[in-house]
Symmetry: C2
Subunit: 403 residues, 2 copies
C-alpha cells in the first residue's frame, strides 16, 4: 500500500484524484500494489467534496507523515512548489509533477536531489499533456542519437492557428473564440507569445542532449503577428502555419533551439495536428522520423500522465529511474547563422525592389490582393534575410520561416 | 560490462550490431555500463566481416558462457528460436527479440519463464518496427483503460495501398513495384493476406487487455481484393483505404479484434500514414486519442528498437520489468455482431435491386463508370450486410468496411 498526497486541488490535481478513483482497480494492478490518496493540500476547503476529509492546509503534515511515499505536485509556479518539491525529495518521497515551469527551471537540481535520496522526480505531464513523450525519450529512443525534435507543444496557439486557417479569421477574432471556449486565458501572453512552448522545448532539448538548456536563452517568437493574409499565401503554396518548438543538433556540441511560427508543408505529418492537439516529431540517426500525437492539455489527459508517473514510482520504490539531465549548460547555436528558406509578404509598391534584392526565389500572387504579394526566398542565413528585411522597412508586411 | 550475443546475422541482426557500433558511446552511457557483442550465432561464416571472429555456429557456446547476460533473438520463426529463447531465459539470460511470430505464439509462456528466472523477455521491435509502442503501452499509458487500438502495422501493404491511391494503379501492378523495391517478398502472402498485421495486433491486444489473444482466432482479411475502382469511389467520398489491425473492447470482458481493409476519413490522423510508415492509434478512457508514428520495418529502425530493449535489460539486471500478459485467454467478440457502415460497389444492372435492399444509405456515382456504382450503407450489423451481399451474388463487385 502506497499513500499519495496531491498538492493543489485545481484542474490537474482534481483530475489526478479522478483518474485514480475511476481506474482504481487497473491503476492498483499496474502499480503492483494498492494506492490511496491520503492528503490533498490546498489553501481552500472543499465542503461537500467526496475528498473533503483529506484536505489539509499545512504541507508539514504531509512532509512529516512517513506513510506518504509519493507526492503529486499540481500547483504550478516556481515559488512554494519548489520548496515543497525540494523538501519532499530530501525526505525520500518521490514527486510527480505537471509543473513545466518548475521542471524547466530546476529540473537538473531536483533530479539530483531525488537521486541522492533514492527516490524519483518524474514529469511526464510537463510536456505534451497526456502524450507519452518524456518516457519514450528516456526509456525508448535510448539507442538513438536524436538529431532533431519538432513539436507543436501549445494547444491554445494551435487552436487559434487552426481557426485562422479553416475560417479565414484574423488573430484577434480567433483568440477571442479560444478565450470563450476556455482554451485561452484572459491574459494569453504565456501562450501566444510562445513562452509556454519555450519551457517545454527546453525540457525536451535537455533530455535530448543530456545537458541543461536554459529556457530563457531560447529564441522565442509568438503568433501575434500572423495574419489571415499569411494563411492565404501559405495555402496557395501547399503550406500551413504552425507554432513550432524546435531543436536540432548544430554540429556535435551545439543545439539550435527556437520557438517560432513556421510554414509547414501540408503533407508533413505535423501539419495534420489541429485544434488543441499537440505532437512531437522526433528524428533519430537510426530510426529516422517518429511522431507522438495526442491531447497536450486538459484535466484528464494531463492527470493521466501524472498518474502514470505515480505508477512508475510505485514500481521503482527505493530505486532511482535513469534520467540524463546534467546541470552543465548545453551550448546553443545562434539562430542568425541558420540557413533556410523564408516566406515574405511585401507591399506591392516595393515589389520590384524586393524581388531584386531577394534574387533566386519564387513570387506568389493571389487574385484579388492588390496591396501585397508573397515571395519564397532561396535558402539564405537568417542574418542575411534580416538585413534585407530591415533595409526594406515598412515594405515588409510579414515574414515566416519555412520548415 | 555486459556481454551480448546476437542470434541470426541477417538484416535485423546485423542492424543490431551496427546500431551498437555506431552509437557506442551513447548506448553505453544510457545502459549505465559498457556493452560488448561477444557472439554472433549464424549457420554461415562471414569471412571479411569486421565481426567474423565473433561468429559461432553452436548455441551451446553462448548458453554455457556465464558472461553473456543479454541475447538478441533476430532469427525469426517459432522452431529453433523458441528453443534458444526458452533455454536462455531458463539460465537467467534476458532475451530481446524482433520475432513477432514467436512473441504472438509463446509470449505469455516466455514472459513467465523470464519472471521465474529473474530476467526479462522484451519485444519492442516485434510491433511497429522502430516505433516505441510496446513500452508506451507497458510503462506510459498505465493510468488508462484502453478502449481501442487501431494500427497500420504492415509497411508492405501500406506501400501498395499508397501507390494504388496516388497513381491509380491496380493491386497487381503496385505489388510488383513493391517487390522490385524490396518492400514485398517474392511470396507476399504473409503481408498481403494480413497475417503479419494479425500477429502484431494479437500482441498489442494481449498487452491492452492483460490476457492472451490467440492470433489464429482473429478475423483476418487482406488487401488482394481492393481495386483502383474502390479507391476512386473512396476519394469521391473523402476517404482513403487502409489495412487496419484493430481491437476494441466490446463490453467489459470481450474484445473485438480484426484485420481488414477499411475506408478511413481523409482527415483522420491515421489516413496520413503513407508508404512504408506504420502508426498505432490508441484511445484511452482518460487521455482520449493518441498516436505513435514511424518506420514500421527496415534494418536500422527495427534494430534500434531491439537495442533499446538491450539497454532496458542492462538497466534492470536481476530485476523483472513489469509486463501484464497472462496465459488466460481473452474472449473475442464475433465480428458478425458489430454494427457499422459499409461501402459497397455494385453492378449497374442490379442497381435498383441493391439500393432497395440497402434502404437508408447513400449512392455514389462516378462520371465515366458505366459498369458499377458505389453505395455507403446506413449502420447495420456485419451479419445483416453479409446476408444481403450473399443474396445478391455476382452483382456485388466490392465491399469495404468504413471506420
Amino acid at each position: 500500500m502506497i499513500k499519495i498526497a496531491v498538492l493543489g486541488y485545481g484542474t490537474v490535481g482534481s483530475g489526478v484524484v479522478e483518474v485514480i478513483e475511476k481506474n482504481r482497480e487497473l491503476v492498483n494492478r499496474r502499480a503492483t500494489q494498492e494506492m490511496e490518496i491520503k492528503y490533498i493540500l490546498d489553501l481552500k476547503d472543499f465542503p461537500g467534496d467526496p475528498y473533503e476529509d483529506k484536505v489539509v492546509h499545512d504541507f508539514n503534515i504531509i512532509l512529516e507523515d512517513d506513510e506518504v511515499g509519493i507526492i503529486c505536485e499540481t500547483m504550478g509556479g516556481t515559488g512554494v512548489a519548489y520548496n515543497f518539491t525540494k523538501s519532499a525529495l530530501q525526505r525520500g518521497k518521490s514527486v510527480c509533477t505537471s509543473n513545466k515551469e518548475l521542471v524547466a527551471r530546476y529540473g537538473p537540481e531536483l533530479l539530483e536531489t531525488a537521486r541522492e535520496n533514492n527516490c524519483n522526480y518524474l514529469f511526464e505531464a510537463s510536456v505534451g499533456g497526456g502524450i507519452p513523450i518524456i518516457r519514450p525519450l528516456n526509456y525508448s529512443l535510448t539507442a538513438e542519437r536524436i538529431e532533431s525534435i519538432t513539436g507543436i507543444l501549445n494547444g491554445t496557439t494551435n487552436y487559434i492557428l487552426t481557426k485562422m486557417e479553416r475560417e479565414g479569421e484574423d488573430f484577434a477574432d480567433a483568440l477571442l473564440k479560444a478565450q470563450e471556449k476556455g482554451y485561452a486565458e484572459r491574459n494569453p501572453e504565456a501562450d501566444v507569445e510562445g513562452y509556454d512552448a519555450c519551457r517545454k522545448i527546453a525540457i525536451l532539448t535537455s533530455l535530448m542532449t543530456g545537458k541543461n538548456v536554459d529556457s530563457e536563452k531560447i529564441y522565442t517568437e509568438g503568433i501575434t503577428g500572423i495574419t489571415s493574409a499569411d494563411f492565404a499565401y501559405a495555402k496557395k503554396c501547399g503550406y500551413t502555419i504552425k507554432l513550432l518548438a524546435r531543436s536540432e543538433m548544430a554540429g556535435s556540441d551545439r543545439v539550435l533551439a527556437m520557438v517560432a511560427p513556421f510554414m509547414v508543408p501540408a503533407e508533413h505529418p505535423i501539419a495534420i495536428v489541429n485544434d488543441v492537439f499537440n505532437a512531437v516529431f522526433v528524428t533519430g540517426n537510426m530510426l529516422g522520423d517518429s511522431m507522438y500525437y495526442g491531447r497536450g492539455a486538459g484535466k484528464l489527459p494531463t492527470a493521466s500522465a501524472v498518474v502514470s508517473d505515480v505508477i512508475d514510482c510505485a514500481r521503482h520504490q527505493g530505486r532511482v529511474i535513469t534520467c540524463f539531465w546534467d546541470k552543465e549548460d548545453m551550448l546553443l547555436a545562434d539562430v542568425a547563422d541558420v540557413e533556410r528558406r523564408f516566406f515574405l509578404r511585401g507591399a506591392q509598391y516595393a515589389k520590384e525592389t524586393i524581388i531584386n534584392m531577394l534574387d533566386g526565389g519564387r513570387k506568389i500572387e493571389l487574385e484579388g490582393r492588390a496591396e501585397d504579394f508573397g515571395y519564397i526566398t532561396s535558402p539564405m542565413t537568417e542574418r542575411k534575410f534580416d538585413d534585407i528585411c530591415n533595409s526594406l522597412g515598412d515594405a515588409i508586411l510579414g515574414r515566416i520561416r519555412i520548415l
